[in-house]
Amino acid sequence: MDRDPDLIEALETSLKKYGAGYGVVAAPDGKSATELLRKEPITLAVCNLKVPKGSDIAFLEHVFSTYPDVGVIAITGLSADKLRKMVKSNGSLQCIEQPHSIEAIVSTVRKAVEQQSEGGVLYQVSTGMFLQLIEMEQRTCTIRLMNNATRRRGALFFKDGILLDARSNGLRGEDAAYEIFSWDRVSLWIQNSCSFEERRINKELQAVILEAMRRKDEAAALSAKEAEEDLPEPEVIVPEEEESETVARVRKRLGMGNIHHGDIIDIREDNTWDSLLAQSSRIGAFFEAGELKVAYVDRGDQNDYLVVPEERSIVVEVDPKCPRDKFIKLLLEGT
C-alpha cells in the first residue's frame, strides 16, 4: 500500500526478478487495500506509512483482527517499537525504518515469504489426515492452504496442537474450518509460529473434521437428489431456507405495528455487521448507556438498515422514508 506509484513499480520489478512466485498488487490507500484483501488471496502486505495517521493504524488493526495470517511489513518514519505500541492488536508486524533502500524492502519481503513456508510445503495432500498429525504432535503453526480444485485459499492456526481459529473466503472460526476440511486435495504451506492467541474454535479437531464431513455428505446427497428430480431449471437450484427463530421473532415484533406495505424490504441474518455492533457496544459501555438494543444505519445506499444484535445480527432493510422511530420503538418493545 503506497501513494507513490514509482516506489510500487520499483518494488514490483525487483520482486518479480526473484521468480514467478511473487504476485504483486498495489493499492494507493487503506480503503483500496481493504478491498483488495477481501478479494485477493493476499499473504503479505507492504505498507509505506511514513508518519502513520489514525487511519493507517486503524488499517493495521483491521488487517490483524480480520486477516491474522497476513503478515505486514511497514515502512515507517517511526521506530519499530513506537509503531508496535500504537497498534494494539497482535499480529505479524515487521518494520523497516526510513530511510530505506529497495534492496532492504525486497530482502525483508523475501524473508517474510520464506518464513511462511519454513515448516515445509506439501502438494496434493488430504487435509484431515495431515491435520490430525499436527494435533498429535502438539505443533504450534500457521498453515496456509489452497484447494487444488477451486484455487480457493484458507488458513488454520494451531497452538500446541489445538486448533484456535480458521479463515477462508470471508469466514472465520468454525464455519471457515468446515469449509477448509471439506476440501479433498490441498496444497499447504507451514509456518512454524502462530501470531494468534485467541481461541475461536472450541471444539476438538476430530469433532470439527467429522462435522465438516457430515456437511459435505449432506450437500452431496442434496445435489444428487436434485439431479434425480430433473428440475426444469437445474442451473438455478436455490433451496428455500427455513427462516431462523430470531428472524421470525423480529418479523413478529415489526408485524405488531400497522406497517405500510413496502417499508420493509427484507429481514435476514447478516454477520457482516458484527464488528460495527461490537464496537458500538463498547462505546455504549463507556458511556454507561446500557446494552445495545438496535442500530439504524444510513450508508447512502438505496435502502437503510435496522440492525438488531443477536447471536447472528438481524438486519431489517427498510425504505429510507419509513417511520424510523416507530420501527425502533417496536423493536425496543420486544426486547
Partner: protein, 131 residues
C-alpha cells in the same frame, strides 16, 4: 467542559452547537476527524466522560466506513452519528430526548456546510482548527 481543540475554535464550536446542546436530554457532543482524532467534546456533566483516554475511536471511525447517518439505541441512552464533510458529529442523548429535534438541528447545521455559507456550519470549526 473539557477542551481538546484550540480555544478560539472551541468558543466557535460552543456557539455552533448551542441549539443541539439546548435540547432536553442531550448529554454531550463530540466531533471526530475522519482520521479518528477527537477534535472537540462537550458534556453537560464535564467530569463524567473522558473519551480522549480511549484509543479505539480511530478503529470505530474506520469501521463506520463512510456511513452517512447512524443511530445506536442503547438501554438508557442513544448515540446519534452524522457524517460531515470533514469529520463525524456524535450526539449522546438519553432515550427520552426528542430525537427528531436532534436530527433536525444536525441537519440544519450540516446543510450550512453544504450551502457553503460558512457562517454556521461545522466547516467553520475545522477552518479555525487548521489555523
Amino acid at each position: 467542559m473539557m477542551i481538546t481543540g484550540f480555544t478560539a475554535a472551541t468558543v466557535i464550536m460552543e456557539g455552533i452547537f448551542k441549539d443541539i446542546i439546548g435540547i432536553q436530554g442531550v448529554k454531550g457532543i463530540m466531533v471526530f476527524t475522519h482520521e479518528g482524532e477527537l477534535a472537540f467534546k462537550y458534556f453537560v456533566d464535564p467530569w463524567q466522560f473522558e473519551p480522549e483516554t480511549k484509543d479505539w475511536w480511530g478503529l470505530f471511525i474506520y469501521t463506520l466506513d463512510g456511513i452517512r447517518e447512524a443511530e445506536m439505541v442503547f438501554e438508557y441512552d442513544r448515540l446519534y452519528i452524522r457524517r460531515a464533510k470533514e469529520g463525524y458529529l456524535f450526539v449522546l442523548a438519553s432515550n427520552s430526548a426528542p430525537t427528531p429535534m436532534i436530527r433536525l438541528n444536525c441537519e440544519i447545521l450540516l446543510s450550512a456546510d453544504r450551502e457553503g455559507t460558512g457562517q454556521k456550519g461545522l466547516n467553520r470549526f475545522f477552518r479555525e482548527l487548521k489555523r
